[in-house]
């Protein structure tokens, strides 16, 4: 039977260190925010680990990750992050195989590119009108 645990990691001097293990996601995220708000660490991370004893492998998913620089934004993002899973999933096995997948949104980048191209075209059209007026 698969066993699910939640691991709280803290970042200090560039090193992530396992701080505590929880059997409740809510307890783990509450404690993570408390540690970040306490200001003793440079960052916090909560990993969900689903361990399958039959295959001796575990699926690890990072549920929450915040660095000290994000602190000001953290309060407004708390409710969002509590419902936002699978930022980064990896599989650990006894043979040490690792794989990773990352979800990302390309829509935002595409929109920015379209706006940039339109602005450049507008600048060229403006310049063309100025030149036509002069000559």
């Amino acid at each position: 039977m698969a066993k699910k645990t939640f691991e709280l990691y803290t970042l200090k001097n560039g090193l992530w260190q396992l701080d505590c293990v929880f059997n409740s996601k809510q307890d783990a995220t509450n404690e993570a925010w408390r540690q970040l708000d306490g200001g003793h660490f440079d960052g916090i991370r909560v990993d969900q680990e689903i361990y399958d004893a039959n295959t001796n492998s575990a699926i690890v998913t990072t549920l929450l990750k915040r660095l000290k620089g994000d602190e000001k934004k953290s309060a407004s993002r708390r409710s969002e992050s509590r419902n936002h899973h699978a930022a980064h999933t990896r599989v650990k096995s006894s043979k040490g195989k690792k794989s990773s997948t990352r979800k990302g949104s390309g829509a935002g980048h595409l929109g920015l590119m379209v706006i940039s191209v339109c602005l450049i075209l507008l600048v060229f059209v403006g310049l063309a009108f100025v030149l036509i007026d002069k000559f």
């Binding site: 396992l18 505590c20 293990v21 059997n23």
Partner: protein
């Protein structure tokens, strides 16, 4: 004895976690002496101690507080952890014990259980690895807070 506030119930675990963090020092593990001085006297009735000195042997109960014995309805002192019935309090809280011993970090467990009388309890438990002198884990101290439905 029951605690009717889930906030208070959570606070006990968080308080002990903070004490453990502060006391672990450079060795990375809280010394037994500090734990006994700073925690054990205060939480004795709601605590238990597991002897995990021998890695090849199953952990055994070295001591159990009187309130925990009342909740468990059996005195398990001197017995291995497998002696606890699976649906009892002590039968539920050791899922993460191997992580506590191997990775030398505390673990918290929350859940519920029913006594033979049918009375239901919600509990939170913290398991803390402690060392006698070196980095080696010699005992695991547990502390429980609970409320009765």
């Amino acid at each position: 004895m029951s605690d009717n506030s889930s906030g208070m119930e959570r606070r006990m675990v968080v308080q002990k976690l903070d004490v453990w963090r502060e006391a672990r020092g450079d060795e990375g593990v809280m010394p037994m002496k500090t734990a006994i001085e700073q925690m054990f006297v205060e939480i004795a009735p709601l605590s238990f101690v597991l002897d995990v000195t021998d890695k090849n042997e199953e952990p055994t109960f070295a001591s159990i507080g009187e309130t925990v014995i009342e909740l468990q309805e059996t005195d398990l002192i001197g017995h291995p952890i497998s002696a606890a019935k699976p649906d009892s309090l002590m039968g539920q809280i050791f899922e993460t014990l191997s992580v506590v011993i191997d990775k030398k970090v505390p673990a918290t467990v929350s859940g519920e259980f029913k006594q033979q009388s049918g009375q239901k309890h919600f509990y939170r438990c913290i398991l803390m690895p402690l060392s006698a002198a070196s980095e080696k884990i010699d005992i695991v101290m547990g502390a429980i807070s609970f409320k009765t439905e």
